[in-house]
């Protein structure tokens, strides 16, 4: 999906809980906070963490210069399951 949008001429970035998977799928740009599959943008109701992840993702969208780059983000949320 990311590739289809990128191919149409819109730059994209994906928040990835599974960085090796997006790498193999051919992502142009990705960020990887330490998050579970069910909460990529941060813990539920944690406005501060969610805002930081969204802001950092958009900043990396501009900063990344090489296709296939995955930038780790310094946020961690471990879901209680």
């Amino acid at each position: 999906m990311q590739r289809a949008i990128e191919e149409a001429g819109i730059p994209t970035i994906v928040i990835a809980a599974l960085p090796p998977v997006v790498k193999q799928a051919g992502t142009p740009r990705a960020v990887a906070p330490r998050v579970p599959m069910g909460a990529n943008a941060g813990a539920p109701h944690d406005v501060e963490m969610q805002t930081a992840i969204v802001k950092d993702s958009l900043e990396e969208l501009v900063k990344i210069t090489t296709a296939g780059t995955i930038v780790p983000l310094p946020y961690e949320y471990i879901a209680k399951v």
Partner: protein
């Protein structure tokens, strides 16, 4: 020495091959961008049709002004516990609105997209659903897309 015992034997396991690079350069500053969200997490309006949890290559558009409490998730491939408490976990639309209000981005796109990743007909996703979603976002003049569920 030829170690091949059976000619033409193939693995039963799907081995994905990383496709060629795709790249669109960023030409604007973040503060000048209209941003859309696209998620494979199965997000859609509560009033919209749910996804088929066994596999579904269709997608749902989500209006940019849809209140987050009118959104829900139908997805059979991950723990929905967190996203049911707060849809922003996978679809940070409220955070995006706050960033637009603060001037960090120019505006929230008038349309966003939810679909159900993690399975389904991959050929349909690649050749039909993906291009269809890209076309909608292009027509709305979206400058960049933030995806989740990677």
């Amino acid at each position: 020495m030829d170690l091949t015992v059976v000619k033409g034997l193939q693995s039963e396991i799907f081995v994905p091959i990383t496709p060629p690079l795709v790249w669109t350069p960023v030409t604007k500053e973040i503060k000048d961008m209209k941003i859309a969200l696209a998620t494979a997490a199965g997000v859609h309006l509560k009033s919209d049709k749910r996804f088929n949890l066994a596999g579904d290559f269709t997608f749902r558009t989500i209006p940019g002004d849809a209140p987050s409490n009118e959104l829900m998730v139908s997805h059979g491939g991950y723990d929905n516990g967190d996203v049911n408490k707060d849809v922003n976990c996978m679809f940070p639309i409220d955070r995006l609105r706050e960033l637009a209000a603060a001037g960090f981005i120019k505006e929230v796109a008038p349309v966003h997209v939810g679909f159900m990743g993690g399975g389904g007909n991959q050929e349909k996703f690649k050749n039909e659903t993906g291009p269809a979603i890209a076309k909608i976002l292009k027509e709305e003049g979206v400058d960049a897309v933030l995806l989740t569920a990677g």
